[in-house]
Point group: C2
Chain length 478, copies 2
Amino acid sequence: MTDSWANPAPDPPATSGADLLLELTGPGLRAGLTEALRKAVRTGRLAPGTRLPSSRSLAADLGVARNTVANSYAELIAEGWLTARQGSGTRVARRAAPRRVAPAAPGTGSTPSRPTYGLVPGSPNLAEFPRTQWLAAARRALTAAPHDAFGYGDAPGRAELRVALADYLPRARGVYASPDRVVICSGFHHGLTLIARVLRARRVRAVAVESYGFGVYRDALTGAGLRTPPLYVDEQGARTDDLARLPGVGAVLVTPAHQYPTGVALGPDRRLAAVDWARATGGLILEDDYDGEFRYDRQPVGALQGLDPERVVYFGTASKSLAPGLRLAWMVLPEELVPEVVAAKGQVDWASGLEQLTLAEFISSGAYDRHLRAMRLRYRRRRDQLVAALAQRAPGVRVTGLAAGLQVVVELPRGTERSVVAAAARQGLEVTGMAQFRYEVADSGWRLPEQDALVVNYAAPPESAWAGALDALCRVMP
Amino acid sequence: MTDSWANPAPDPPATSGADLLLELTGPGLRAGLTEALRKAVRTGRLAPGTRLPSSRSLAADLGVARNTVANSYAELIAEGWLTARQGSGTRVARRAAPRRVAPAAPGTGSTPSRPTYGLVPGSPNLAEFPRTQWLAAARRALTAAPHDAFGYGDAPGRAELRVALADYLPRARGVYASPDRVVICSGFHHGLTLIARVLRARRVRAVAVESYGFGVYRDALTGAGLRTPPLYVDEQGARTDDLARLPGVGAVLVTPAHQYPTGVALGPDRRLAAVDWARATGGLILEDDYDGEFRYDRQPVGALQGLDPERVVYFGTASKSLAPGLRLAWMVLPEELVPEVVAAKGQVDWASGLEQLTLAEFISSGAYDRHLRAMRLRYRRRRDQLVAALAQRAPGVRVTGLAAGLQVVVELPRGTERSVVAAAARQGLEVTGMAQFRYEVADSGWRLPEQDALVVNYAAPPESAWAGALDALCRVMP
């Protein structure tokens, strides 16, 4: 770009106020004028180099005070929209030609036709979020909050919430906890990412994962540079006794209370094998206790973490017990790991201080226990209805993994999974086949048994949609 | 570990219920028994291998129903605390010896003696958080929220908040915005980390930064594998005309409205030079508009982003305008960048859906504008009091950077900065010297002018501490 100001081309007369066609909008005359001028420059209506009328003349055209125009010009000059040079008046600034912008890649979440019913796993019943009780807790929390609750928080999270969890978790989940071992995170995925970074910094190269699971979490581990060799899952959960045979594995990610998504509980021997392995090798057990609160036929199975709090990272979350939209989860860490996780979190808090105080108040007031009790009854009733309906209308299928959690496994005859999922979709019912969770490792020569099945979330549908969803499910059963 | 179960050692008699010294605590008899047994095992009171009394005998000792004990044993067996083998009764499970745990590294945030007054930059006045209005907005948001507000959100953030910002930002900050360009993040640091990852994936190798600034943000860039060559800052802000001379630079991080911490505004020519560079090279400008709303002597200087929305990533935040504790910030992105940033965010939302809806409601109801107007008046009065007090009691110092923001620069005589900071600390006043913000690059042979100065945050102290803080500041002036 040549500096055309140094040697200006012959000057066309200044644009008049009427030519500018300025529409004055927005609050305040001057703000409106400024924004109108910006827009005119941005859209090209006022081309680079165009000389603007003097502030006196534009003010007269527009019927406003001269100062209004002069201040507006000054602001736009400060921002780089206009330039003023002695003897040359006020002009639209020249800039290099804009680069041609590539069109945005398509597919940022287009959902062509929403299904009528959804039984896809992952979410609790959002319609049952306890709005009134939550707002009451928020009011109490906001009223009592110290000023520093509004400041940059410390990386471990609000002390009030860590104290409430250190009281709740031992009582409800058999977790060995103290507030200084608890670190708050914005969902399990965030926590797992932090641990992955810590493991990588400790030169761990691989984290064993269950052969059935949620791919996003494996991706979080591989994204941190970790390999993810699979541990076979059978009716006793992950075969943790195989850990010793996996080379270079420094940690193992498991879902002991209710394997995701097969629904089996990790057997006692497998629990001991995992702890023995961790103690013998210095390895870590990453315990994802995503829905440990929901167990229907007896008391919840306590967390594995209690067996050795120095070898287990316990992950809990409000995503299933309350709502994923809160983006609140927690880790209970081995003591030696706390400083590294805090450092990985970047020394600042990530979750809203107010939201943390609200959850702390919600837990310590007993509202959390009450909500869980109520949801346990509702989810259990749903599960019983699902089992009864399938027994009656599709007696050929077997339902497993139903002692706990928000979903069951509906086993299908061999070779029918894909066609059932497709048939359901045609009827407006969204369901997930087990294939989505099967983790085949390409280079291992290692094959999972191919039990055709659906993973059915009976918890999520709102009450109004439940009967219809259940009916639709029964209708597509082979 | 040898399998001592296969060939048991001669058996001592089973422990009696009285010997167990179980204290039954907690809600529910069985839960209390279970937790008491867990605790006894954990603390070593019940050693591995110890044989427990039969459920019948323990029930009799404790005066509870036999089923209570049997269920408790069953639960602890499922969790791996106890084992049961035919003919051998119920025993405490054997496990490998625990590994000795290294003591946690010290220094996880010990603050020996809290200063009486603090004028450290970074925070707005937390005591002025509009609790009542925020709660009112939360109530309206919670009442009106669709169920999906409680679900896993989409990575860009809640649409309601993106729409509110796309209305507010053009009006208040001259930003060119539409909801589909806005991405919500958990603070500026989070947003910067996402952009750094996108730049790195685009094979950018360096991001130029201002020669004065906040080290944590440079660390975020270097942590993503980017070099951070400095751009000199003078009284017109960053010397963006030097960008073309920096090899391999694909982006530049600037604070145009109010350079942090020197307080100068980026001059019009520097704005144009930055945009010209970005257009000519395909580079990106990262505009950190951290306190753009606070300008006292005239209208705020609009955002640089308006000059070329396809070359500028605009960052705004609630951290200065409302409270850092909300952990809510926003980016307005070039259209082509949106999919990459959404992917870097990991396809899920990070911030609470409710908190986002509350802020959306707070903005669109006009409460945000009202709060900003009120705070502008209060901060301006504070600034005027600071300037007047220094003029009277320390006429030798010069105050700069005072047209905007939450802090000023108090220039000190050469060679006095360290002693002034130390003297203040002895009097219980925490202040920050300019040296903390100076970015010297070791291998560049490149030296900043050494203006001794303090960066004084007059906004943060609560009303009750302001007079004392101001007096203490004046007393330590040389």
